[in-house]
């Protein structure tokens, strides 16, 4: 199993280590509920060094990347990131990723740990056709990535770094100086809160982590990270997104441009025009219970779908989840039920914006 450069720091701070996508990662420190609250109310930090990071460079990098994603990358300026998906020939999703344009022909790509080998193979597979001059430099194991998230995150981080990070736009990326070393700070996250994801050389990882803890950030594990992303209605690859899921039914229409020159474009444009057969919806339990992945979702007694994710939301104090529902029934407010241990627990379909309904 692989360890991030922060492994010793996690042990020191009482992190409980588990295996995730081939990495030994902290699932929790003080407790998932406490960590979730810290991020919703103040600020917290997450080791996300297991996520893959690679630099793409060469005279036609932008054109090459454009062939792999449905977004319009000509609208992405230097220092700006774009959340998007790699699509396959069937219009399915190979992975969801963030593309940061660092320079006109130099991009930083962040992708899922569980898909690292698969994505790298995918990137290389399309090089002969679309990007013979593109070099791919995987820097995952030479760097750490730390997510700093919460309503206080930007102000606290600005103080720590001695820089006005509030000037960086949402999904922007900037270089900041930390103890004489330049870090990348991308204003994104996976919690529904404001914040940054910092990328630093691996040897600086522990110093950075300790400085953040010293400044008052709550160390958080993958458990809280999952609760926070479900509360924010965000997709997790392997759950809401798969090779068989198209971005339209997943509710990612906003990142699908009118372009027709990327892999799978024909099928995706077709679905966009005719409308998807099923849609990813939120599910909110109306009684006590914990909905979990795989539990059937029923409407008028018929199983119409299955939870792709489900958690107890400490913020809403309710069970929430997501499920693909046939388009004809996929309406917010629609009564449904989640089958938990053979019992149909009353629930309601909602948008995925759970926190906006609170």
């Amino acid at each position: 199993m692989k360890r991030t450069a922060l492994y010793d720091a996690h042990r020191r701070h009482g992190g409980r280590m588990v295996e995730f996508a081939g990495w030994e990662m902290p699932v929790q420190y003080a407790g998932i509920i406490e960590e979730t609250r810290a991020v919703r109310q103040r600020w917290g930090i997450f080791d996300v060094s297991h996520m893959a990071r690679a630099y793409f460079q060469g005279a036609h990098t932008s054109e090459y990347l454009s062939k792999l994603v449905p977004s319009d990358l000509t609208k992405v300026a230097d220092g700006i990131g774009q959340y998007t998906v790699l699509t396959n020939e069937q219009g399915g999703v190979v992975d969801d990723i963030i593309l940061y344009r660092l320079e006109p022909q130099r991009w930083l790509v962040v992708f899922n740990a569980a898909n690292r080998e698969k994505d790298l193979a995918w990137f290389h597979r399309w090089r002969p056709e679309f990007g013979t001059d593109v070099t791919i430099d995987d820097q995952t194991e030479q760097t750490v990535m730390v997510a700093v998230q919460g309503p206080e995150a930007v102000a606290r981080l600005s103080t720590l770094m001695g820089a006005n990070l509030s000037a960086v736009p949402r999904f922007g990326i900037a270089q900041v100086d930390f103890q004489g070393t330049a870090l990348w700070a991308g204003r994104t996250g996976y919690t529904g809160e404001d914040g940054f994801e910092l990328i630093a050389p691996a040897e600086l990882g522990e110093i950075l982590w300790e400085a953040l803890v010293e400044a008052g950030a709550t160390p958080c594990g993958l458990g809280a990270r999952d609760v926070l992303r479900v509360e924010a209605g965000l997709h997790l690859y392997g759950h809401e997104l798969t090779d068989e899921t198209n971005p339209i039914e997943a509710g990612l229409n906003w990142l699908v441009s009118e372009r027709t020159d990327y892999i799978g474009a024909e099928i995706i444009q077709q679905v966009k025009q005719s409308g998807p057969q099923r849609k990813l919806m939120g599910v909110v339990l109306q009684e006590r219970g914990v909905p979990r992945e795989g539990y059937p979702v029923m409407i008028e007694g018929d199983a119409v779908g299955m939870l792709t994710s489900g958690v107890y939301s400490p913020t809403l104090e309710k069970g929430i989840g997501m499920a693909y529902i046939p388009a004809s029934s996929a309406k917010a407010g629609m009564p449904c039920a989640v089958e938990i241990r053979g019992r149909a627990v009353p629930a309601t379909l909602s948008t995925r914006r759970f926190l906006k309904q609170a």
Binding site: V27, G31, I32, I33, G223, R288, G289, V290, Y312, P314
Partner: protein, 126 residues
């Protein structure tokens, strides 16, 4: 990990406190620690008769769901309904305020067949 000396234990991580013909039952410190934050609990109604090893409830944490098993046979005499609105008590005080049910024992000697604190410590290697 706290394993009180005056209790008996099961392989499914319940503890049993014997008071005359009443057995008080909860989950161990080890169990609450492994589960993490408890967010759901389902307990039986008072008056229900439980067979040995019968599932009498469900406990769920953020991470996992787990059945509760009757370590002894008898009628449910009392249920700790106060827990329902304060599930964190199970994490904070598993052997005290975190008790779940009190069972009127069919056979009080049944408790002697359960694991001693030392046996439980060895079983869980803690």
């Amino acid at each position: 990990m706290n394993i009180p000396n005056d209790l008996r234990y099961t392989k499914s991580d319940e503890w049993v406190r014997l008071n005359g013909e009443i057995a008080e039952i909860g989950i161990t410190d080890y169990a609450q620690s492994e589960l993490g934050d408890i967010v759901f609990l389902e307990l039986p109604e008072a008056g229900r008769y439980l067979q040995l090893d019968e599932s009498f409830g469900v406990i769920e944490s953020v991470k996992a769901a787990s059945d509760l098993y009757a370590p002894v046979e008898g009628e449910v005499a009392e249920v700790n309904t106060a827990l329902m609105s304060a599930l964190e008590v199970i994490n904070q005080d598993p052997y005290g305020a975190g008790w779940m049910v009190r069972i009127r024992l069919k056979d009080p000697t049944q408790v002697q067949t359960l694991m001693t604190p030392e046996e439980y410590r060895n079983y869980r290697q803690i």
